[in-house]
Subunit: 332 residues, 2 copies
Amino acid sequence: MSKIRVAVAGYGNVGRGVIAALKNNPDMEIAGILSRNPERVKQTCNDVPVMQIADMDAWLTALKADVAILCGGSKDDLPIQGPMLAAKISTVDSFDNHSRIPEYFKMMDDAAKESGHVSVISTGWDPGIFSMERTLANAFLPGSRAYGFYGLGESGGLSMGHSDALRTIPGVADARQYTHAVTDAIDKVRAGENPQFAPGDMHTRECFVVLEDGADQEAVAEAIRTMPGYFAPYKTTIHFVTGEFLKEKCSGFPHDGLVVAAGTTGNGNAASVEYRCKWQSNPEATANVLVAHARAAVRLANENRSGAFTILDIPPAYFSIHSKEELLKKFM
Amino acid sequence: MSKIRVAVAGYGNVGRGVIAALKNNPDMEIAGILSRNPERVKQTCNDVPVMQIADMDAWLTALKADVAILCGGSKDDLPIQGPMLAAKISTVDSFDNHSRIPEYFKMMDDAAKESGHVSVISTGWDPGIFSMERTLANAFLPGSRAYGFYGLGESGGLSMGHSDALRTIPGVADARQYTHAVTDAIDKVRAGENPQFAPGDMHTRECFVVLEDGADQEAVAEAIRTMPGYFAPYKTTIHFVTGEFLKEKCSGFPHDGLVVAAGTTGNGNAASVEYRCKWQSNPEATANVLVAHARAAVRLANENRSGAFTILDIPPAYFSIHSKEELLKKFM
C-alpha cells in the first residue's frame, strides 16, 4: 500500500516535531516542507524538498502530497494560509485561539467544501484531545462540568503565549513563563463541588525575566503584574535572572494538563473522570496529534467527505494505523 | 423536538441504572421495559409499561421506541437477544467478553445490516471508554503500549465476575471480590518502561467469603487459590466473614480504573497520557455510557447508516446533547 504523503507547512518547533513524528508512523512519509522563506529552511534541512508556500501550483505538482499539516501561528499565519491551502488540498491545523474557533471553522468549512477537500482544524492537545475529553465527560456525566488545569508538576508548564507576552514589555530582553495549577482547586472539582472559579483560582503564574541593560526592574515588575488577561487576574511570581540561568534552567518546552469532571450517576452515586497528559516537549506532542489527524483527514477525503472537521467529528478508529479487525481484537 | 424513546431490555443493576440515567438526559425518555419475566418486574416498577421481550411485534407497536438498550449478561443473554432485537430495532449493548467481541460484532453487523438498523455493541467503560483511550493513546504516541489497571483506591474495585466465580464454589454461601492495582506496576508504565507483565504482576485479588454451615474452610480456600484464570495467576487474600459483615461493609458496586501509556515524542522526549475513572456505582456508570450511545445510535440511524458500530466508529459529537454550534463555542 502506498504511503500517505504529507506536506509540512512551517519549520518552527511544531513543524520540526511533525517531521520527527512522521518517522514514527510507517504508513506516512514527508512529501516536502512549505515555507515563506525556503532558502533559510534549506540551510538546516536539505534531505527533503523545501518550496515556497505561495507557489501553490508548483508544489502541488512537484510534491504530490495527500494532505498538508499547517504548523504556523494562529494569530497571523493560519487565518491566511488555512483558507488558501484548503482551496487546493486537504489540511490539518492547530488553530488555538479558542474564542475564534467558530469563525475559523466557518472560514475553513466554506473553503474546503468549495474545493472538495477535508480540513481538520484546531487539533493538538488543547484544543484537540482536551476538547474531546470535555465533550465526552459532559455526555457521560450529564450535569457535570469539565475543568482544565495546566502545569500540575512541580516545575509547572511552559506557556509560549505568556512568555511571548513578557517579551513585549519594554526593558525585557528574554523571558519564560511557567503556569502552575492550584492543587486545592483540583481537589474541589474531584470532590464533585462543580465550583465557580475565577481564572486566578485555578492557576498561578511564575515568570523568569532577563532585563535589558539599564532597565527599571520595578517598572517591569509593575508592567507584568498589571497586564490585563495575561497576568493581572493571577497570583504572579517574578524572578529576575541572568541570560545564562534562562539558558541552563529554562530550556525545552515541558507542559502537562488535566481535564477533570465529577458528578453523580443514578440517584446520587459519586462519579468522576480524569484525563491527564504530560509532555517533555509540548510542540512535539502537538505534532504527534496533528500527524494522526492527517491520517484521518486522508481517510475522510477518500470517502468523498469534504468541509471542515474537528476532533469531535471524527471516529477514533480513523486516527489509528491499525485495521478494523486489529482494533476489534486487540484494542476493544 | 420529540424525545428519543428508549426501550430498556432487562431490569438488573444496569437496567435500573439506565432508567435512572434517562431522567438526567432531557432529550430522551423511557418507552418501556422489556423482560423475560414482566410480572416480576411489575411488582417493583409500575410507572412505565413492562412487556414480554419475546413478544417483539407487540412491544414494537405499543412502545414506539427508537432504540433498545440491552442490559442482559454477555454470557447467556446478549448472544441470543442481540441479533433477535437487531433484526427489528436499533440497539446498544455492553457485551464485555473481550475475546469474543470480533465474533459478536460480526453477528450483530449481519443482523443490523439486513434489517437496516444500527447496533452499537460492547460499550460502557471497559469495553467502551477504555477501548477508545487505548486506541487514541496508541495513535497519538506510536510505539507506546496502553495498560489497564483496576481498583486504584484503598478498598479496590468490586468485580462482579470474580464474585460470581467465588459463589460457584461448593461451601460458599455468598462472596465479594475486590481487585487491587499493583502500584509499582503503574509506576513502571508511567516511567516509560513499556514492561511485559503477567496478569499477576498488575493486580491482586481480595476475597470476602461467607461459608455455608459446616463447610470446610481450608477446602474452600484451596479451591479459590487454584481456580484457573480467576485466582490462580494472582496473589489472592481471603477473608472468611459473616453474612452481616458482607451486608454492612461490602454493599454497593464501587469500581475504578486507569488507562495509562507512556512513550516518547520526536527524538526521545518523554510523553505520557492517562485516563482515570472512579465510580461509586459501576452498573450506573455503565448505564450512563449506554444512554449516551443510544443517542448516537439514533443519530446514525437517522443518517441511514446501518450495521454494527463500536465506540471507535462514532464521532464524539454524536454522544453529546449539545448542538454543533455549542460544541464549537463551549467545548473546543
